[in-house]
Symmetry: C2
């Protein structure tokens, strides 16, 4: 008998009426003869409300207590969904993450799953029950409740699907699948029927909020097929799986991320160890750096720019200014008026024309490119924030038909 | 070093400002050189709100899921109080009931504590931390979260105090102690400085909402001294302890309970086994019977009355009507227009004048007595509900000066 793991996000369980609808979907899947494990997030804005409560008490709340606090949101969803399933006449077993065998490290608020002990889940499935697990949470080696970071319920679902060798992991959300770009910005955006883990990963880190990037990594590593689809529609959706070769379409999606900021060091001495010093200091401060560009050196000096998440800009700038003085740079600047536009597609490296087409589309639209960064399956350009929307439309038009 | 257990109820942690005040009290106790374990309830109306959410989904929500749902309220309080303590510069460890070693039976929504495994609490106390435990919850043998019934946080605090052999268990509430009667009804009510477990128990079951009656039973059984006091005042309060003899004042308190209903069987055959049949059937339906009065038999028939909680009246009446037909009674009636007034005091049985004084006070106030029930330390009279307030004032005036 097939095991199906379903994950329902916060918007799918935002109120009691929506929870009843989710219960119907779950029961329908169960009635088709599947063993069903459901992973749920906290209802709608619950997590934000809990964070604001904590801030009223402590400006930077201690992370272990934060995890205990945030874990309650998912418990409420689990209990209510179980009640809704039992109301339909089926047996449900609701499990907090820490009783469902989700063991993590002790990096509170962004813990990593170490193991999934599926004994309890399997035991309840054998009794014919529908198992409902609280997403986003686990248990540290010190027996404290941990959480897995924003979007962590995706990771819970994928990890359970992997550990149970589930047939599929269904990620239910409020959009009907993964789009070629943001349909709110570009109405011509289309749903991508099949996408590879790699592309999905680039999309997640390029700012598309479809699936948590760590969840996609996990799915890829353990070959767990997933489908991203809407809670409201029976069919459609985007299949995320192993795709090694795609004829025809090379670019599968275009994304825009306007939550970036750029730091630039002017006239850095071009010596070994300088980059290591700068990015070592940022890493120590737990700041993720995204795009890094260093210009060709002239007369022993170079300019070095990198982007960080906009929320880290102040901290990154402070660290950079100090380092700039130490390194005797001419100047260090911070700039949050930027956006990052990215095209993503498997096999892009074997089609050198893609980069040229992207740059031409931007030029034709009158958009200036400030930084460029490429990987095996993506090309990102940093542009002015105000030109983001125009750039997105132009590049999408060029590649997606 | 002395261990002190403090319990803060829902009104003491109703908002973040109040939680900060509680943190100060806790830290002050810790700074005096005590090891402190704090037990907290859910914030203000949280539990009621969660119950109403559940009812939107299921008219009679399954109890296991209900417990999972309700347990979240206390977790939020624990996390926020820990943050407030850490904000003051002290280390706190927040523990859900199920990690604090509270093991219960599996009677969901009204579970009984079986054992308290204090290893984790002691380990954290040894590290110099203030331990904050979620009240009202435990873990069943099947590893499901259970709750201990309304007022269950008192029980958690007492049980932990007993298991740790704490010096004292302090029950903080929004009133400055245990009063001789309800001060909202009788302004002359006074605080009782010392009261015995037995009297406290009678008060709890007579409708005074100061401490959960199961918590008082537990405190008595394991000789755990407690004090009931206000969160807002440093001194005062009521000490609940072993008191075997009290000179002078015999009546320590007077209570009024208007949440009672009376069922009467008219003309029941006065044969052995009839009462067993009636109260057996009510017990099977999980209905607690309070006062029972049977009149003297005349010509082989008698009238039998008893009171139940007003919320059980419909169910009790239905069962009684069926039994009444079976037993060929003349009539069975239900009446919720009643109240119960009770005087409580140690050694009352050795002072026969107490009953007479109570009856005279009622008669002088023009209050008719419908039923009388006595125990070793209390006398209860059932009267008309509308006369409750008048009766309470008169009886309090008679005994408390």
């Amino acid at each position: 008998m097939a095991i199906i793991v379903q994950k329902y996000g916060g918007s799918s369980v935002a109120d009691t009426e929506k929870i009843k609808k989710v219960a119907e979907k779950v029961v329908n899947t169960h009635r088709k003869g599947n063993k069903v494990v459901v992973v749920v997030s906290a209802m709608g804005k619950t997590t934000d409300n809990l964070i604001s409560l904590a801030r009223q008490i402590h400006p930077s709340p201690p992370t272990r207590e934060m995890d205990l606090l945030l874990s309650t949101g998912e418990l409420v969803s689990v209990a209510l969904l179980c009640m809704a399933i039992e109301k339909l006449g089926y047996e449900a077993e609701g499990l907090p993450g820490f009783f469902a065998g989700i063991r993590t490290d002790d990096a509170h608020t962004k813990a990593r799953i170490k193991t999934v002990d599926t004994r309890r889940i399997i035991e309840e499935l054998k009794k014919g029950k529908i198992v409902v697990v609280a997403g986003f949470q686990g248990l540290s080696p010190q027996e404290n409740i941990t959480t897995l970071g924003r979007g962590g319920s995706d990771l819970t679902a994928i990890a359970i699907a992997g550990a149970l060798k589930a047939e599929i992991c269904e990620i239910y959300t409020d959009v009907p699948g993964v789009f070629t770009t943001d349909p709110n910005l570009v109405p011509e955006a289309k749903i991508i029927p099949v996408i590879s883990y790699k592309e999905m990963l680039e999309m997640a880190s390029a700012g598309a909020k479809v699936m948590q990037s760590r969840a996609v990594e996990f799915a890829q590593k353990y070959h767990i097929p997933c489908v991203v689809k809407s809670t409201c529609q029976e069919n459609g959706g985007t299949m995320v799986t192993e795709v090694d070769f795609k004829e025809g379409a090379i670019v599968s999606s275009v994304t825009l991320d306007d939550k970036q900021a750029k730091i630039t060091f002017f006239n850095v001495p071009d010596k070994p160890g300088i980059a290591a010093k700068i990015f070592g200091a940022l890493g120590d401060a737990n700041i993720n750096v995204d795009v890094i560009v260093q210009n060709v050196s002239t007369s022993g000096y170079t300019d070095l720019s990198f982007t960080v998440n906009i929320t880290d800009m102040e901290k990154a700038y402070e660290i950079s200014r100090k380092l700039g003085q130490e390194l005797k740079c001419k100047d260090v600047t911070a700039d949050n008026d930027i956006a990052k536009i990215t095209v993503i597609g498997l096999g892009m490296m074997n089609h050198p024309g893609v980069a040229a087409r992207m740059f031409k589309a931007l030029a034709d639209a009158g958009v200036n490119i400030e930084m460029i960064s490429t990987s095996e399956i993506k090309i990102s350009c940093i542009i002015r924030k105000g030109e983001g929307h125009k750039a997105l439309k132009a590049v999408h038009q060029e590649f997606i038909r």
